[in-house]
């Protein structure tokens, strides 16, 4: 590619390039420049001494992390939650979107859509408060109902066995409605001629869904899966933090709360940055991994 051609192209698309600038500036200022801070993962960082003055310690913090007795537990908790999220939370909006798509009364469809969006706009603090109200020992309406139904005394908030189901329930309640938006948009884009053709061939509703609708939104599902893979080790900090107590901490502590606890409350900046960096590296690896898998199975990946 010759120099002249590049400059012609630059000139030809100059206004498009100008439009690109704000977005580029955003990423440089807020996403790339702060990455310089990653260096403190390899230092014994002291705010007073600054980035330049703090002593370098190589991989000390990573060694501490991987040899720490906390590491297997925190990693395990994070992975189990991630897995549960992948199995229960990821498909939920797809299922709901398909169900909404089958509704023929549009006013009902829209009413349900609006109703299930609302929880998305509540903060986790409010969701946690609601959870505490509903599941309180001996007094929460759901606890009372369950106690009566099963004749046992449920302690949802303190029992470690109930921690993960509660987290998944909260996430489903709060985020499924919002998650359906992108799939509903994809569903609207499926060519209606295909349905007509399927009907002429005698396909039932179920078969139409299976052979027309799902293939129609498959690429959307794959893109969403790749995007989510990068966040696999991310737990929702506020959600977990607010639901944690002394009795369920053994299953509740995940990387995000661990980093908060060490970094913010104990001032172990370098160590918690090392943990965060580890998480990010795993995230990048997962994105590439899932992308590779998607291409491997003959779908177009994200890149």
């Amino acid at each position: 590619m010759g120099k002249a051609r590049l400059s012609t192209r630059l000139i030809r698309y100059r206004w498009l390039l100008v439009l690109l600038l704000p977005g580029l500036a955003y990423f440089v200022v807020f996403k790339y420049a702060p990455m310089y801070g990653v260096t403190i993962a390899f230092q014994d960082y002291l705010p007073f001494l600054g980035f330049d003055g703090s002593p370098w310690v190589g991989f000390k913090h990573f060694e501490t992390l991987f040899s720490s007795p906390d590491f297997p537990r925190v990693l395990g908790n994070t992975l189990i939650l991630a897995l549960l999220n992948a199995v229960f939370v990821f498909p939920a909006p797809i299922v709901v979107a398909l169900m909404l798509n089958e509704l023929r009364v549009s006013i009902l469809k829209r009413a349900i859509q609006s109703a299930i969006y609302i929880p998305y706009f509540l903060s986790w603090t409010i969701v946690a408060a609601l959870t505490y109200l509903l599941f309180a020992l001996d007094t929460g309406p759901i606890t009372v109902l369950m106690n009566d139904l099963f004749g046992e005394r449920f302690d949802f908030l303190a029992d470690p066995d109930w921690f993960r189901p509660l987290v998944i329930l909260q996430t489903l309640w709060k985020e499924v409605g919002w998650g359906t938006i992108i799939y509903l948009a994809a569903l609207a884009g499926v060519d209606s001629n295909l349905y007509e053709a399927a009907r002429i061939d005698g396909a039932s509703r179920w078969k139409q869904m299976w052979h027309v609708t799902l293939p129609g939104i498959r690429s959307t599902i794959i893109v969403m899966a790749i995007l989510q893979a990068g966040n696999l080790l991310d737990s929702k900090f506020e959600q977990i933090y607010l639901l944690t107590n002394s009795l369920n901490r053994s299953v509740a502590e995940v990387f995000d709360t661990y980093v908060y606890f060490l970094g913010i409350t104990q001032g172990a900046y370098s160590y918690s940055t090392a943990v965060g960096l580890f998480k990010a590296v795993v995230g990048v690896a997962l994105i590439y991994g899932v992308n590779w898998l998607a291409r491997r199975f003959g779908h177009s990946g994200l890149f």
């Binding site: 002291l46 705010p47 020992l137 908030l157 002394s246 965060g276």
Partner: protein, 502 residues
């Protein structure tokens, strides 16, 4: 695409600090009042404080909620204010102080009449390994109290508890003898909420352990410092609490009860005893007063620390301070300038200074009645501004020489009686206070891992009380504390302790 990176970033400002200009003093102070604005530079309070100190003040007010973050950023920058409110021995502060960012004031304060401490123990508590890096901001050295439903006591013909056995008996009666008279067994004795802190953070458990003779955080046993949870008294106290849990004398959701609902449980008559700071009694009294101003005096009674099973009283004190004012070495480079700054702080803690910072202007926003301060009508905008500004400037008050300003006049006759009762038993309890001999000591491992390790203890304690683990596992968890780094803390603590004691 945005990568999920948890990064700590901060730009360090490269502008060099101004050479200390003795006419102006720069300060950084947390702004506590949520709804009020920071005091204006031309406000009466700002001008009065400038007049008192003879300095022009340049104050950076930082909202309390992100004061800690802001402090870290400020420490990282090259532009430290001359005087900074430090809210406690936070790791970043300790590391900076030891690296020489702040003046070591050990032995320097006694030369100033209003900075000379009234209580050497508290000054030691506020120090870092015996080195004083700031003028501490005094708080009441004793606050622990037992708050009991007075009407329930009266109904069941019981007296205020004085010993831990009394506490058990009253809690038992409150649980089993239907103190609210509704014919149902729907009450319990002691109310304990989910405690946000870890071990040795003035939780009801910590207080009861101290009553049982366990150390307050750390204690000296056979000349060595040991963590309080590795003592027989700790186990004995928790067996006692566990017995209360098992018998239903404590709310069963003590591990999860929202601490914001603590008062409600007492007010609505679900439980009848609270072990906490005595000021909670005032909050509870207000709740009853809002409900019925005619009878509100019949519901809340309180007393100080209880006598333990050995018959000896051990009281749970506070650390006696809430942060300190530290002076930057970089912005105040010479001894002469340091003297100048200390003279200003000395003036602020004089009687005149304390009244200005804590009460305001007599006649303008408050009047004195029986030695109490009575606030003037705060709906008048001018008075409201002063009152808000006083609340902000009170953060600058140290009173390490003793509090000599006025206390606000309690709202009613009963509140006043209650307040005087509190002052009386706090004073009496000070004699039996069990101080934490390690309060001054900052060990490296403690800073790095302490909170994480103490979580092991706090969690194990709750699990033991809830019946999730037995005593053998509790002891194993205490051993785990040692093996995961606690032993290093013990060694470092003892090393420093030996140095301080000399």
């Amino acid at each position: 695409m945005a990568l999920p990176l948890a990064l700590v970033s901060c730009g360090s400002d490269e502008t060099p600090a101004d050479p200390a200009d003795l006419g102006t003093l720069t300060l950084m102070i947390p702004l506590l009042s949520g709804d009020a604005a920071a005091p204006a530079v031309d406000s009466d309070m700002h001008k009065a404080v400038e007049a008192l100190t003879g300095k022009k003040l340049q104050i950076t007010w930082v909202p309390n909620s992100n004061y800690g973050d802001r402090m870290n950023v400020t420490l990282a920058s090259d532009d430290l204010p001359e005087v900074m409110v430090v809210q406690g021995k936070l790791p970043a502060f300790v590391q900076s102080a030891e690296a020489g960012a702040f003046w070591n004031l050990t032995g320097k304060l006694d030369a100033y009449p209003n900075l000379k401490t009234e209580n050497k123990q508290i000054e030691l508590n506020s120090s870092i390994n015996g080195q004083v890096y700031g003028v501490y901001r005094r708080r009441d050295p004793m606050r622990a109290a037992v708050i009991v439903r007075k009407d329930w006591l009266a109904k069941l013909g019981l007296k205020m508890p004085q010993t831990v056995d009394d506490l058990y008996n009253v809690a038992k009666a409150f649980t089993e003898n239907d103190p609210d008279g509704n014919g149902k067994k729907d009450t319990y004795g002691l109310i304990v909420p989910k405690w946000p802190g870890v071990y040795a953070t003035a939780s009801p458990y910590d207080v009861i352990e101290t009553w049982y003779g366990a150390p307050n955080g750390w204690g000296e046993r056979n000349g060595k410092l040991v963590p309080g949870f590795d003592t027989p008294e700790f186990l004995e106290a928790n067996r006692f609490v566990k017995k209360m849990v098992t018998e239903g004398l404590i709310n069963p959701d003590f591990a999860t009860l929202d601490s914001a609902k603590w008062d409600q449980q007492f007010f609505t008559g679900k439980g009848g005893i609270i072990v906490d700071v005595s000021s909670r009694a005032g909050v509870l009294t207000r709740l009853f007063k809002e409900k019925d101003a005619a009878t509100y005096a019949n519901f809340v009674d309180l007393t100080g620390n209880l006598t333990g099973p050995s018959g000896k009283k051990n009281s749970y004190p506070t650390v006696g301070f809430n942060g300190f004012l530290s002076i930057s070495k970089q912005s105040v480079p010479t001894e002469a300038e340091l003297k100048d700054v200390l003279t200003v702080l000395d003036k602020l803690s004089s009687k005149e200074g304390q009244i200005l910072l804590n009460n305001g202007f007599e006649g303008k926003n408050f009047t004195v009645q029986d030695g109490y301060a009575l606030g003037k009508d705060a709906t008048v905008p001018a008075i409201k501004t002063i009152t808000n500004d006083v609340m902000s400037f009170a953060q600058l008050g140290t009173a390490s020489n003793g509090y000599v300003a006025y206390v606000s006049l309690p709202a009613g006759q009963f509140e006043r009686q209650q307040y005087e009762q509190r002052v009386k038993f706090h004073k009496a309890d000070e004699a039996s206070a069990i101080h934490n001999p390690a309060q001054a000591i900052v060990s490296k491992t403690q800073v790095a891992k302490g909170a994480q390790l103490d979580q092991i203890i706090a969690d194990a304690r709750i699990k033991f009380l809830a019946g999730q683990i037995n005593e053998a596992v509790l002891k194993a968890e205490i051993q785990r504390w040692y093996t995961q780094g606690g032993q290093d803390i013990v060694n470092e603590m003892n090393e420093q302790y030996a140095k301080i004691k000399k």
